[in-house]
Symmetry: C2
């Protein structure tokens, strides 16, 4: 018998985060509710007087949302730790408080990325046994599929044991959220053969090879990132961040160069919503600063899927 | 008064290296000679009985080339150090011997990359003061220009002082060979601000900032690699190799996806010829295994330019 989620789900959303907040966040909520007749309730954290008319305007049914008023906003350029500490009434601080105290089951924001990371790491406990949480990104594959790349910037310096855990967390996420069966895990490296690479990659390879919780296929190179070779691509956050931002720029380049390509169109990050923080005990999703309605809607869908699939429980099991 | 090159230049070429050798190498030589009426002589190292009929067939004038017979070939998959040691009569071993003894002024091969690197590092002295030689690649920029990325794989683990030298060598190469005036040097990193990055990038930033031999513009991110931000992009060889191979794959992806784009067409490595090894005392250029005639021709042009511009002497001066 499948264990089902009994209490109604409640997803918290920072309505003040991102360059186009709160309008695009409200539009995203409206689209989500229109398309998803589920029992998910949304907790919208933001300035009440701004939100109420927008919610009315976009005909959002009041039984699906509740507003939690926040008086402050953490700006995109504020120092994360300082801002979180000083702005206890900010939408991000309140959002994490609601999540930490069980008032919501997930938290989403397109606001200050650093503040979201600090909040995730310090307001929410790490999953038992996790050395370091990680963030990942979807990489569109040429054959129409999707891959998962991690870490993409939370951990610029890593130890082999951390990469080994990223491989497990990425595998579980790929299975549960991206619906990839038995995902192939590749170690991002400079050559195909075992023994290639920098000291970190050399030391990580044997750990991945011996890890029975993953389907390790060996090293993958830069040329393999965009093709259907590995479903989960593991590296430290320095290399991963460079790959992520280079991949994101392909969409912009394609757009500016007026290149007609369905493949390049898929590098539009809005399709995928945001980046979940993996390895913390509750679902936290960080959106891009320039998130529009579609991105907000898709972040809510990812959060819902993370709760429904109990992906974090599965990670915990696989890491044991 | 400009100091001119008095003795005739002689460029050595491994005719047996690469997947399409010796035919494409011969065709490249023929094209070079046809288009360049200079006083450059070419020393062609390879199997005499294979080369002679091809040279006749492609009407290569005998006063511009001489053949040095080699009996062995180092295969693409052979162990570099072992092969170089055991195959003293291979085209690569002979080519390096000619270069080391002053019989040629440069050496080019599209053969076993590892053997070329080992040969460059051990047959040819490092430039005085160089901690570690490096290899670079051209990165096409969206605005039509070109950037130089280094290191792209010779040094998977680096020290800050090495990156600082790569910045100088890359700057001199960009000025002398790519004709970029006062090239902007960027440190490949995960964020714009000083203090961002992994331990290596954090420690490298102040060195680049204080380096009076370069025009340091600060950090550049993955999104800046393809745009006109920095002319010389500095990183360790792990990240650089991933970027290089990802960039190379863009050409293949574009081709397979039938994307019409002048920009993506410029990711065809044949346009740029090969990769010079920077930091050794004589010009050594390594071609891609699948080099065709155009790549061979362009490698000879780069070698000629490296000799004429005395780029290695300039590097030595700037590193002092």
């Amino acid at each position: 018998m499948e264990f089902v989620h009994c209490t109604p789900m409640n997803i918290g959303l920072d309505m003040m985060g991102g360059d186009y907040a709160p309008l695009e966040a409200v539009k995203g909520v409206a689209q989500y509710i229109l398309e998803n007749s589920s029992s998910v309730s949304l907790t919208l954290v933001g300035d009440q007087s701004s939100l109420e008319p927008l919610i009315a305007e976009h005909k959002i049914p009041s039984n699906r949302v509740r507003i939690i008023h926040s008086e402050q906003v953490i700006g995109m350029d504020e120092h994360p730790t300082k801002a979180l500490k000083e702005k206890q009434q900010s939408s991000i601080a309140i959002g994490f408080h609601l999540l930490a105290t069980g008032k919501t089951d997930a938290f989403i924001s397109a606001g200050n990325t650093g503040a979201m990371l600090v909040g995730a790491l310090f307001s929410i406990k790490a999953l038992e046994g996790v050395l370091r949480p990680t963030i990942s990104t979807i990489i569109p594959k040429e054959n129409g599929g999707t891959g998962l790349l991690l870490d993409v910037g939370l951990n610029a310096d890593c130890k082999p044991e951390q990469l080994n855990q990223f491989a497990v967390m990425g595998s579980v996420y790929a299975q549960q959220i991206l619906d990839i069966k038995n995902p192939r895990v590749g170690l991002v490296n400079v050559g195909e053969e075992e023994g290639k690479g920098n000291l970190l990659a050399q030391a990580t390879y044997p750990l991945l090879k011996e890890n029975k919780h993953i389907n390790f296929i060996g090293n993958i190179e830069g040329r393999d990132v965009l093709i259907d070779k590995a479903d989960v691509m593991v590296c430290e956050g320095f290399t991963g961040n460079i790959i992520l931002k280079l991949a994101e720029s392909l969409y912009e380049v394609g757009h500016r160069q007026q290149i007609k390509s369905e493949f390049l169109d898929r590098f539009d990050f809005e399709i995928y919503g945001g980046t979940p923080v993996l390895g913390v005990a509750k679902p936290v999703i960080i959106g891009h600063g320039i998130s529009g309605a579609k991105a907000f809607k898709n972040m809510i869908i990812v959060a819902q899927k993370m709760i429904e699939s109990k992906v974090l429980d599965r990670m915990k099991e696989e890491l044991e």
